[in-house]
C-alpha cells in the first residue's frame, strides 16, 4: 500500500478545505437534528399516554420507536448527500489535469482508489459523529441499549460506505462532477427501490431482488441486530465497486 497515507491525507485535506463538505455536513446535521427531535417528542407524547394505559406501556421501546426511525431517516438523507461527497474524487482530478501527476508518481492504482475511498468515508464518519450529542442526551434522559445503538451506527456507516464506493466509481467514469453525482444518485435510488419489484417477479427472482435491495440489509442494523449476512452484503458491495473503479482507472492510461 505504497503512498496510501500520502494520498489519504491529501484527500482529507482537500475535502476539509473545500466548501462542499461544510454544506453537506450542515444539511445532514440540521435534518438529523430535526428527525431526532421529532422522534423524541413523539415518543414523549406516547409516554404520557402510556402513563394512563398499562397495556400500551408494555409496548414502549426506545430503540424501536426513536432510534430505528431516526436511523432510517438518516439513511434517506445519506442517499441525497453521499453523491455530493464523492463526485469530485476522480472527475475533478481529470478535469484539472492533476490525474497526470497522480498517475506518474510511483503509486499503485489501488493505493489511490483505496485512499480516496477511505478519505471520503472518514469525512462522512466525522459528519456522523455530529449526531452523537443527541444520543448522549438520550442516555442522560433515558436508558438506551448502547450495543443496539452502536449496531445502528455501524449499519449507517456501512450503508454510507457502500453509497460512497458506488460514488467513487461513477466519479471515475466522467470528467464532469454533476454527471458523476447524477449517475451515482440514480444508481443508488434504483438499488433502494429495486425491492418493490419483488411483488410481481415470481418467487425465485423475488428473493434475488430482495437480497439486492440496499435498504433491506440496513433495516436489521437499524433494529440493533448484527447479522453477518447483511455485513457481508455491504462488504461485497464495497469491494465490487472499488474493483470496478480500479478497472476504470486502468483504462485512463489506454485512452490517453
Amino acid at each position: 500500500m505504497k503512498g496510501f497515507v500520502a494520498v489519504y491525507r491529501k484527500e482529507l485535506y482537500s475535502l476539509f478545505a473545500l466548501p462542499v463538505f461544510y454544506a453537506v455536513a450542515f444539511t445532514f446535521l440540521v435534518l438529523a437534528g430535526y428527525f431526532f427531535y421529532s422522534a423524541i417528542v413523539y415518543y414523549n407524547l406516547l409516554s404520557f399516554q402510556a402513563g394512563q394505559n398499562p397495556m400500551m406501556a408494555k409496548q414502549m421501546n426506545l430503540m424501536e420507536m426513536v432510534l430505528r426511525p431516526f436511523f432510517f431517516d438518516l439513511s434517506i438523507v445519506l442517499l441525497l448527500i453521499s453523491p455530493l461527497l464523492t463526485m469530485r474524487l476522480y472527475a475533478e482530478e481529470r478535469k484539472t489535469g492533476t490525474m497526470e501527476l497522480l498517475l506518474t508518481y510511483p503509486l499503485p492504482d489501488r493505493s489511490i482508489v483505496l485512499a480516496k475511498f477511505a478519505a471520503v468515508v472518514s469525512a462522512f464518519a466525522v459528519i456522523l459523529a455530529g449526531t452523537l450529542p443527541g444520543i448522549f442526551l438520550l442516555d442522560y434522559l433515558a436508558n438506551p441499549a448502547w450495543k443496539a445503538i452502536l449496531c445502528g451506527y455501524l449499519g449507517i456507516l456501512l450503508l454510507g460506505s457502500s453509497f460512497m464506493s458506488l460514488g467513487v466509481f461513477t466519479s471515475s467514469l466522467t470528467q464532469n462532477q454533476i454527471i458523476a453525482a447524477v449517475l451515482s444518485f440514480g444508481a443508488l435510488l434504483m438499488l433502494w427501490v429495486i425491492g418493490w419489484a419483488k411483488s410481481y417477479v415470481g418467487s425465485t427472482m423475488g428473493e434475488v431482488i430482495d437480497y439486492l435491495s440496499i435498504v433491506k440489509h440496513f433495516d436489521t442494523f437499524a433494529k440493533g441486530i448484527l447479522d453477518s449476512r447483511d455485513l457481508l452484503y455491504y462488504l461485497i458491495f464495497i469491494v465490487f465497486f472499488l474493483f470496478l473503479t480500479l478497472r476504470q482507472v486502468a483504462t485512463y492510461r489506454w485512452r490517453g
Binding site: 503512498g3 497515507v5 494520498v7 491529501k10 489535469g97 501527476l101 506518474t104 508518481y105 492510461r253 490517453g256
Partner: protein, 316 residues
C-alpha cells in the same frame, strides 16, 4: 538513460507520433522541439508512464516504461505541460503530499521539502495557497515537485510556456543549475531557449523526428548558403552589380538604401569576406561593417517544418 524505440501512438485512427526513435545519454540536456501538436507531449507522456505506446518500447535506465512502470516512475521527475496542481493546497502541503507519494518517509520528508523549496526559491510562498499564486510561482511549484527525491531523469514539458520574460530567465537559470545532477529532456517550441540550454536538439514534426544534433551542427548542416551582411559609407547601389560578378556570389540584395546596407548570399565553397573587403576598398567606398550572418535555429526549424508537408503529401 532515456531510450525510445519505434514509438507509435494512435488516438483512434490518427497517429499522434510514428516510429519515434532516439536516445538521451546520462547527464545530457536535450531539447525536444516542435510546433504545437507535433507529438511532443505524447512522446513525453509515454516516457513518464502516463500512457503506453501503441507499438514500440520506451526505456528509462534500461527499464521498460510499460512493464516496470512503478520503478521507472521512481526515477523520473515530471513537469506536465499545463502544470496541474491542487489549487486548494498550500505550497508546502502540496510538496509534502508529493514527497509522500514518491515514497519519501518520516524525518527525511521535511528536509526534502525544504531542499526543493530552497532550490526553486519558494521560501516566501511556502504557506500560500496554490490557487492564489501567479503563473510564475505555479511553474516553480511544478518544478519543485519534479525535483523531489532527486530523480536521475527530469522530463519538463514546456517549462517556460506562458511566463513573462523575467520568469523565463529565472526558470532557465534554474534548469542550467540542475543540469549537473540530472539527465534532462525538455520540450519547447521556443527556439532560442533550446539553443541556449540544450546540448542537443531533437526536432519533431507531425509525429516524426526530423532532425537530431547539437544546435551548432544543425545550423551548419542545414545552411545551404552563407549570408554576408555589409554596410558601406558610400553608394551601395553602385556596389551591387560589382559584387554580383564575384565568383561564388549567388545573389546580392539591397536592404535599405538610406543605411547603405547589403546582403550578399554566397555558396559555402569558401569565405568571401576578405575578397569583398578588398573590392569595396578598391572602389574607393568606405567599409563600415562586414559580418557573416548565421542562419538562426529558428530559420532551420522553419525550414524543416515547412519542408515536411510536401513529403507528407507524397506519402499519403
Amino acid at each position: 538513460m532515456i531510450e525510445a524505440e519505434g514509438l507509435t501512438k494512435y488516438y483512434g485512427p490518427l497517429p499522434a507520433i510514428r516510429d519515434v526513435t532516439f536516445t538521451v545519454e546520462r547527464g545530457e540536456v536535450v531539447g525536444f522541439l516542435g510546433p504545437n501538436g507535433a507529438g511532443k507531449s505524447t512522446t513525453i507522456r509515454i516516457l513518464t508512464c502516463y500512457m503506453p505506446p501503441t507499438t514500440g518500447v520506451a526505456r528509462i535506465d534500461g527499464l521498460d516504461c510499460f512493464a516496470r512502470s512503478l520503478e521507472v516512475r521512481e526515477r523520473v521527475g515530471y513537469l506536465p505541460e499545463s502544470v496541474p496542481l491542487y489549487a486548494e493546497l498550500t505550497v508546502k502541503g502540496f510538496l509534502r503530499f508529493a514527497a509522500g507519494a514518491k515514497g519519501v518517509e518520516g524525518k527525511k520528508l521535511e528536509g526534502e521539502v525544504r531542499r526543493v523549496i530552497a532550490i526553486c526559491g519558494l521560501e516566501n510562498a511556502a504557506h500560500r495557497i496554490i490557487g492564489h499564486l501567479s503563473k510564475g510561482f505555479r511553474q516553480r511549484v511544478g518544478l519543485a515537485q519534479a525535483l523531489l527525491k532527486n530523480p536521475s531523469v527530469l522530463v519538463l514539458d514546456e517549462p517556460t510556456i506562458g511566463l513573462d520574460p523575467a520568469h523565463i530567465i529565472e526558470i532557465r537559470r534554474l534548469i542550467e543549475e540542475l543540469r549537473e545532477e540530472h539527465t534532462i529532456l525538455l520540450s519547447s517550441h521556443i527556439l532560442p531557449e533550446v539553443a541556449q540550454i540544450c546540448q542537443r536538439v531533437l526536432i519533431i514534426n507531425k509525429g516524426q523526428i526530423v532532425a537530431t544534433d547539437t544546435p551548432a551542427n544543425l545550423t551548419r548542416q542545414l545552411q545551404k548558403s552563407a549570408q554576408i551582411q555589409l554596410r558601406v559609407g558610400g553608394q551601395a547601389r553602385e556596389l551591387a552589380p560589382v559584387l554580383e560578378n564575384l565568383g561564388g556570389v549567388q545573389k546580392v540584395s539591397l536592404v535599405d538604401t538610406d543605411h547603405q546596407k547589403l546582403f550578399v548570399e554566397t555558396d559555402r565553397s569558401g569565405d568571401l569576406r576578405p575578397e569583398i573587403a578588398r573590392l569595396v576598398v578598391a572602389k574607393g567606398i568606405d567599409l563600415l561593417e562586414l559580418k557573416l550572418v548565421d542562419l538562426s535555429l529558428e530559420d532551420i526549424f522553419i525550414q524543416l517544418v515547412t519542408e515536411e508537408p510536401s513529403q507528407e503529401g507524397s506519402q499519403s
